[in-house]
């Protein structure tokens, strides 16, 4: 029977630790405690900031944006205010719909205005009169600031300069109907249809072309793409490494790949910039306050905080997107300013009207589950 004692000691040890942990909350465990005992330690730890004096408790953030860009922003908020941030990364806007009778989140961060405006139309977001909201042009905000976009991006093609030259890469969305693009060296890459950026892209095409043609387009890229990835980060890495000749991404992924120590010989083509073409498909990332969340005051504080200019830049963070606030200098070199591009003439909040049916269309075209 002795042989069992080793096995047995483990859960017991774990339990012992558990008991110890409940008593003395360790500093590193900002994620460890789950609201059960609201943290009073962190409040004492924080030292300066006047606004911090009034805040405590926690803030639940759902984010559809890449964790790499968001976590630093949330850490900054936590450091400066003492509010404990509990983040769920990779959240889908529809999770907020499903939880509307049992609201969990205080703040929703998204990189797709379509999703934000959809939630707004469903009445799940709450507006507010924030001090610095005027720094963002009205077309990048909902009517009552239910959502506020802070950074923008445009769709286009990242390509590997070792494999193809600029004129061997498509220059418009329409080009992708053509099967010839399946024949570039190692083919090209797109994301899975469930990806927020892809949903926005398809919505914009529906606005431009109508449903039938858009569905044909989705089917065409599904058939012709050599790689279908979970996210855009996979695409930029794959194109940088020469696994595919080009890929359909947002512009900032190009800037990210440029900053890589190797595999960085990449170029970027903004789509549909020619005379008479529709202009690049734009989308934006922004923040919103969820209606009826458990920590409404902290959500207000977060909205005010993130609109401070310093924090608008922090929101852009490592994403290398272009800040929407025209006063702000993009935090990296050779950024293409919003004003320098020819954009599609669709108001961004239109995306909200397309959101729901777009996911259905993508599903019908069979792109929602593919990975290759």
């Amino acid at each position: 029977m002795k042989k069992y004692t080793k096995l047995f000691s483990l859960p017991v040890l774990a339990l012992g630790l558990l008991a110890a942990g409940c008593g003395a909350d360790d500093e590193g465990g900002e994620t460890a405690d789950n609201g059960a005992d609201t943290d009073t330690d962190t409040e004492e730890q924080d030292d300066t900031d006047e606004e911090a004096a009034e805040l405590d408790g926690e803030l639940v953030v759902y984010s559809a944006r890449n964790e790499q860009f968001v976590q630093a922003l949330l850490d900054k908020f936590e450091d400066e205010t003492g509010v404990e941030v509990r983040a769920l990364h990779g959240a889908d806007p529809l999770q907020l719909v499903e939880e509307q009778a049992n609201v969990q989140a205080d703040v929703f961060i998204s990189n797709d205005i379509g999703g934000l405006e959809y939630l707004n139309q469903e009445g799940l977001l709450e507006g507010g009169d924030y001090e610095n909201a005027d720094s963002i042009e009205e077309q990048y905000r909902a009517d009552n600031n239910e959502w506020i976009a802070l950074s923008t991006r445009a769709r286009g093609f990242i390509y590997n300069k070792d494999m193809v030259s600029e004129d061997e890469v498509p220059s418009s969305m329409e080009d992708l109907f053509d099967e010839e693009w399946a024949d570039v060296p190692n083919g090209y890459a797109i994301t899975r249809g469930g990806n927020g950026g892809m949903i926005g892209n398809v919505s914009a095409l529906r606005y431009e072309w109508g449903d039938e043609r858009t569905q044909e387009w989705v089917e065409a890229i599904r058939d012709n793409a050599a790689g279908i990835f979970e996210g855009h980060g996979d695409i930029r890495r794959a194109v940088g490494a020469g696994e595919h000749a080009f890929g359909l991404v947002n512009n900032y992924y190009y800037h990210q790949q440029l900053e890589e120590p190797n595999d960085n010989n990449v170029g970027f083509v903004y789509a549909d910039q020619g005379e008479g073409e529709m202009g690049a498909i734009a989308n934006a990332a922004g923040v919103s306050k969820v209606s009826g969340g458990p920590n409404s005051e902290n959500a207000d504080a977060f909205m005010e905080w993130v609109l401070e200019e310093e924090n608008q830049l922090a929101f852009v963070g490592e994403s290398l997107e272009v800040p929407i606030n025209p006063e702000l200098e993009p935090p990296f070199e050779d950024a293409v300013r919003v004003t320098e591009l020819n954009f599609q003439d669709m108001p961004l909040h239109e995306l909200g009207n397309y959101f729901e049916d777009t996911t259905r269309l993508i599903e019908d075209a069979g792109l929602d589950l593919d990975l290759r």
Binding site: T31, D92, E99
Partner: protein, 558 residues
């Protein structure tokens, strides 16, 4: 009612003295009382114990029943759309992968077992457990290491391109073959362990008869050994095919889509109707496999005669020795040395980059917390089920036992899906708390605690129970005061198994984790999918090390 029924040890009691209840029609109650006793063979377990058992069965089966129920209300539209477009393709993907992995894993497992157990392979004692080692590497961790080495930008590409005449790098890990290989390498030990045990028990006499009839070693293997091994191979095959059906992590990382992955992605985009329809199909698929198992078990009964048992002899490998050694080492390199080596290498880099910080320990602490609590809960909940099954056998206790296996056989995504439904709509207070993760672990892994406990309980004589009952203890009290202390080692072994399975668990944790509560497994999955390997490796290595703990038990068990 409890006290009325304490007529222990009365198998021949016809129930005349069963005064059940006080008022109402005595004749009718009498009738039911008698029926009740008949169900239990005259020895009913008492209300408290029975309720405890029923409670466990309820917890274990409700999430699954709920998913099935929801799928019926998904609407004809969803059903038709899926049946038309999605299901045939998924069925093909899932079935082809399951069959391919199972077949190759059997081939590898049986051949290794035969070489290691029956031949004079140098170092066979060591190989016996080295070959079982892949069991401690969760396939999603294995998949990460294979992407690092064989991925399109992996190390293998550099080697490949260094060889002048090979041309372009031609290995594609993100393919059927990649998934097939990775899953096989990390699941074959199930067959290996079970078949090894069978081989060791095989009676030499049969082989000698065959040999005396002029059979060659090869012919003996096919005609004598293999038929005897069929039950063992079958048991291993079931474990493997159920695993392939349920795996999410490795399959998603290698960009293959089976039912389980599809359900996860449907759920992630909140297409709940489709997710539950696909779940029902997957439940049916699982039941088909279980049915096949029951069928083959009934058909194939082989008996070893124990009275003339003689240990099997060791065959001389002779000129085959180098070849056998190469084969065994190759499997070891690809299923153990390579993944562990990669993890150690990236952990070292991560260590230099200071990724093992307070955040990392926060995740480790979360993993530890949910896994330890799940282990404790399983130890407690397993007790009434196994006690009922062994001391009060009846239709009802068998039913409770069977229901407790529901979550074990089914994929974690389905268990998690059911829990999301139930808690979000009916029990919102617990929704988005880590208690849900613990509950999901219990539903998924309770049978591991049950099996370990049962093994111990079978060694305790029922006479002890009877003695305690005759001194006036009700059945539940006998279980806790008398039986529990003597089966403690088995219960704790079960707890350890649950603990390790929980640490490794990925899909249910991903779907149920509340905001700000990531575990090591979740981080490994996320960081690996972002290709930040130096962050993923330390967590993965820690999971592998923890999984080593119950290996000794597993080796003993088979």
């Amino acid at each position: 009612m409890t006290d009325h029924n304490n007529s222990q040890n009365s198998q021949k009691n016809t129930g005349h003295d069963a005064k059940v209840g006080g008022s109402g029609s005595p004749a009718l109650l009498h009738f039911f009382g008698r029926r009740w006793r008949a169900v239990w063979n005259g020895n009913p377990p008492g209300l408290i114990l029975l309720l405890a058992g029923l409670f466990v069965a309820l917890i274990m089966s409700v999430p699954i029943i709920y998913v099935a129920w929801r799928s019926l209300f998904a609407g004809a539209d969803s059903w038709l759309r899926l049946l038309d477009g999605r299901i045939p393709a998924l069925l093909w993907n899932t079935a082809s992968l399951t069959i391919a992995v199972t077949v190759l894993a059997i081939a590898i497992g049986v051949s290794l077992a035969w070489i290691v157990v029956r031949t004079d392979l140098p170092g066979r004692r060591a190989w016996q457990w080295l070959m079982a080692l892949p069991l401690v590497i969760p396939p999603y961790v294995g998949a990460v290491t294979y992407i690092i080495v064989f991925g399109p930008s992996g190390w293998a590409r550099d080697w490949w391109e260094a060889v002048p005449f090979l041309g372009d790098y031609a290995l594609n890990i993100y393919s059927f073959w990649g998934v097939f290989l990775v899953l096989t390498l990390f699941t074959y030990p199930y067959v290996f362990l079970i078949v090894s045990a069978s081989l060791r028990r095989m009676n030499r006499n049969y082989e000698e008869v065959a040999r005396s009839q002029g059979y060659s070693t090869a012919k003996v293997f096919w005609k004598v050994n293999l038929p005897f091994l069929r039950p063992a191979i079958g048991a291993g095959a079931i474990l493997i095919s159920l695993y392939v059906l349920s795996d999410f992590g490795a399959i998603a990382m290698l960009r293959y889509v089976t039912f389980t992955a599809a359900i996860y992605f449907q759920r992630a985009s909140f297409d709940t109707a489709s997710a539950s329809v696909l779940s029902l199909v997957l439940i049916l698929l699982t039941m088909v496999i279980l049915w096949i198992e029951v069928r083959t078990r009934k058909k194939n009964k082989f008996y070893q005669t124990s009275n003339s048992y003689r240990e099997p002899d060791t065959l001389k490998l002779g000129k085959w020795k180098p070849l056998a050694l190469v084969y065994v080492s190759t499997v070891f390199v690809f299923s153990v040395a390579l993944p562990i080596g990669v993890l150690v290498y990236w952990t070292y880099i991560g260590f230099e980059q200071h990724v093992i910080d307070s955040r990392f320990f926060g995740f480790a602490w979360n993993s530890l917390k949910v896994s330890a609590l799940a282990a404790v809960a399983s130890m407690i909940l397993a007790l009434p089920v196994i006690y009922l099954k062994s001391r009060y056998p009846s239709m009802i206790s068998t039913g409770i036992d069977k229901l407790s296996y529901a979550g074990y056989a089914l994929p974690g995504v389905i268990v998690a899906l059911g829990m999301v439904f139930i808690f979000n709509t009916h029990i919102p207070a617990f929704y988005n708390t880590y208690y849900l993760i613990i509950l999901a672990f219990v539903v998924r892994f309770l049978p591991q605690a049950m099996q370990a406990g049962e093994a111990s309980l079978s060694l305790v004589s029922p006479r002890i129970d009877e003695a305690a009952r005759s001194l006036g203890y009700p059945p539940w009290k006998v279980m806790i005061k008398v039986i529990l202390p003597s089966i403690m080692p088995g219960v704790f072994a079960g707890g350890a198994l649950v603990f390790v399975s929980s640490i490794k668990e990925l899909p249910a944790t991903l779907m149920l984790r509340p905001p700000g509560f990531d575990t090591l497994a979740v981080r490994v999955y996320y960081e690996a999918s972002e290709a930040i390997y130096y962050q993923a490796a330390p967590g993965a290595l820690l999971i592998v090390l923890v999984s080593l703990i119950p290996l000794r038990y597993l080796l003993k068990k088979y």
